[in-house]
């Protein structure tokens, strides 16, 4: 006896086309008063894109009409992993917000520690080793070695004093 299954959810397939069409509309709105040279590229690509999305919509409508698919939206993740994913993105967002105040070394260390903890790491030597060694490596190579002007904070100031890199 075969297992009875419902129609395949395909609503998620419309997210990217929706974003693409939305962006194309916004693009057309921003170029409406510009010279043809500024519009030509967007019009050519936007028209092809609109045609392709129309084909996808037609295909979707046919599949839904035949009962083979439904417009339910799913990205296929289980609830536990989805929670971890959202938590990870929240940590990344907090990292970006804290970066100007804490500086790159400290913010990156905290971000790594929090992310590893969230994903289930409980081995203290790993937790501390990775979240201390990696920011120090970034500081030594990117900030000191290559001179990239990452946001600085108390950790950079302390490291600068420790290694005599205080500058002027």
């Amino acid at each position: 006896m075969s297992e009875r299954r419902g129609p395949t959810p395909i609503g998620q397939e419309l997210i990217i086309p929706g974003l693409a069409l939305g962006f194309t509309g916004y693009y057309f709105w921003t170029v409406q008063e510009l010279a043809w040279e500024a519009k030509a590229n967007g019009i050519v690509i936007g028209s092809i894109l609109a045609g392709l999305v129309a084909l996808l919509l037609l295909r979707t409508a046919l599949r839904v009409a035949r009962g083979q698919a439904s417009l339910r939206v799913t990205l296929g993740g289980d609830p536990r992993t989805d929670r971890l994913r959202v938590g990870l993105l929240a940590i990344m967002l907090a990292f970006l917000l804290a970066l100007p105040a804490l500086g790159t070394t400290l913010a990156l260390g905290l971000m790594l520690f929090a992310a590893m903890w969230l994903l289930g790491a409980r081995h203290w030597p790993t937790l501390l080793g990775v979240s201390v060694a990696t920011p120090l490596l970034v500081w030594a190579t990117l900030m000191v070695g290559l001179g990239t002007r990452f946001p600085s904070g108390p950790a950079e100031a302390a490291l600068g004093l420790l290694f005599g890199l205080g500058g002027d």
Binding site: Y27, M116, V138
Partner: protein, 505 residues
């Protein structure tokens, strides 16, 4: 610069003098190739701050060495634990893992390494030999042809790499549309910048790349790794006798290495085809022409050789369209193209006239990389089985932290780090809903180039769009473009019809 013997010798001398960049590239490529999730493009993305700061030739040598070594070591976990380290090693699992189960792990590793190194070496030399002819493309291709070539390249990526052609095309066109963000090329008026000054120069490629590949892959990796059934790696006891036995097998099947390597090269030249397709096609063709096809899947040496040789034949093939017409053959080639663009080098038909040392040098560097890898084969095969995989709860935070920090290093804007995160979410949605992120990235990458050629063509044609159909070469390319879309659809429909006729009522 003509490619005579003296020039080749000079390029080889220059490449060998870059050993200090090639050897770390090889070591890093080998190390990260065994880690599923650490693809060559992700490793290159993490190291972008470093490569952008390096001299262009050293940066290229480093990236190429990492790329080639990564293709080689992707077979190690495929053979030992049945988990491919990269997409190109997926077909290696079939016979490689069976050899491990039959107690022939060392032999399988030697077969894999010899096939990879020899396959990569002979194909990079072959490409070097035909490059003088390919470099003439710059004299044939004008703006009209380039417009069609860009569309053709995106179409091929959609047809071959994406599982769903329509979605692949939508992804590519969305990318091209995003590539049009920024001030226009004639009047410098801002378009679709959402009011951000940081977007006036166009969408920055490094954060887009980081978001679409690294961030999105981390989000996907969580799901794959938290699922039950992950297999730990098994420790193997290495023996020199088994290693030498693998070498003997490699010599026995030398012809397999040669022809499947060239098959990989040909497939690699097609934009979008890549290592995954090449290795499976090589495996299938090797089985097709074998006198003992029934032995495939049971731990048969040619079943390891074919995908590994093709997988490395692809490395030189992928760079051919990148260097000759400016269409990256795959995602790693796209990363290299971004680094070259950052250094002010425009890849494409003019590269052979403007920077011949780069155009030819890339393939010489690849040859040198494979030559430097030869002495590593036997010791690597002996000790590779001791490699321990890094747990996901360490890899994911590390990739996220280092890549998002790397997004800042390019232009030193905090905005770019946020942009990488935003594109990460876009990339994740794209992956999970069946859209191909490579086609979106290549669209973004080619967007400004497409606009430049399109505007030039339209000016030549005084605003008439029919100028795009005014040249015989362009028209031939249009026909190929249409055929590449229509033929697979027609064949799919015919197969479906045949299958429905065979089904009993």
């Amino acid at each position: 610069m003509a490619l005579d013997l003296a020039t080749v010798a000079d390029l080889f001398a220059r490449s060998f003098s870059l050993w200090w960049a090639i050897l770390p590239g090889i070591a890093l490529g080998l190390a990260v190739g065994v880690l599923p999730g650490f693809s060559p493009q992700n490793t290159l993305i993490i190291l972008l701050p470093l490569t952008l700061a390096m001299d262009v030739e050293a940066a290229l040598a480093f990236m190429i060495a990492l790329y080639c070594a990564n293709h080689l070591s992707g077979g190690i976990p495929a053979i030992l634990v049945n988990i491919p380290g990269s997409g190109g090693a997926a077909a290696t699992c079939i016979d490689g893992y069976q050899m491990t189960r039959n107690g022939q792990a060392q032999q399988a590793l030697v077969l894999s390494f010899v096939a990879s190194v020899v396959g990569g070496l002979i194909t990079s030399v072959a490409v070097l030999a035909i490059l003088p002819w390919l470099s003439q493309l710059g004299l044939v291709l004008r703006s009209v042809e380039m417009v069609v070539i860009i569309l053709f390249g995106l179409t091929l990526i959609a047809v071959l790499a994406a599982k769903d052609m329509l979605k692949g095309l939508i992804g590519g066109m969305f990318g091209l549309m995003l590539g049009a963000i920024g001030t226009d090329q004639v009047y410098s008026t801002p378009r679709a910048t959402f009011g951000f000054l940081e977007l006036y120069d166009g969408l920055p490629l490094v954060p887009v790349l980081i978001g679409l590949f690294a961030v999105s892959e981390c989000l996907v990796m969580l799901e794959q790794s938290f699922a039950p059934g992950a297999k730990p790696s098994k420790a193997q006891r290495p023996q020199w006798a088994d290693t030498l036995d693998g070498l003997r097998m490699s010599v026995t099947y030398w012809w397999q290495i040669v022809w499947t390597g060239f098959l990989g090269l040909v497939i690699g030249v097609i934009p979008g085809a890549g290592a995954y397709i090449a290795s499976f096609v090589a495996y299938q063709q090797s089985r097709l022409f074998s006198k003992t096809p029934e032995r495939y899947g049971t731990g048969f040496p040619p079943g390891v050789i074919a995908p590994e040789s093709a997988n490395n034949g692809v490395t030189s093939g992928t760079l051919v369209p990148t260097m000759t017409i400016g269409i990256p053959g795959g995602s790693t080639a796209a990363v290299m193209m971004i680094v070259l663009q950052y250094q002010g080098i425009v890849v494409g038909p003019r590269l052979f006239q403007d920077s011949p040392n780069i155009a030819y040098g890339v393939f010489v560097m690849m040859t040198v990389t494979y030559l430097l890898m030869i002495p590593l084969i036997l010791p690597l095969a002996r000790y590779a089985s001791k490699v321990v995989t890094v747990p996901v709860h360490v890899i994911v935070p590390l990739i996220l932290g280092l890549t998002v920090v790397g997004a800042f290093a390019d232009r030193e804007y905090m905005f770019d780090m946020g942009l990488a995160l935003a594109f990460g979410i876009l990339g994740y949605v794209a992956v999970k809903s069946g859209y191909h992120v490579t086609s979106i990235l290549i669209g973004v990458l080619l967007g400004p180039i497409f606009e430049r050629y399109l505007l030039r063509s339209l000016r030549i044609g005084q605003g008439d769009i029919m100028v795009l159909f005014s040249s015989p070469v362009a028209n031939a390319l249009w026909v190929l473009l249409v055929a590449s879309v229509v033929v697979p659809l027609w064949r799919e429909r015919r197969l479906a019809l045949r299958a429905s006729r065979k089904e009993p009522a």
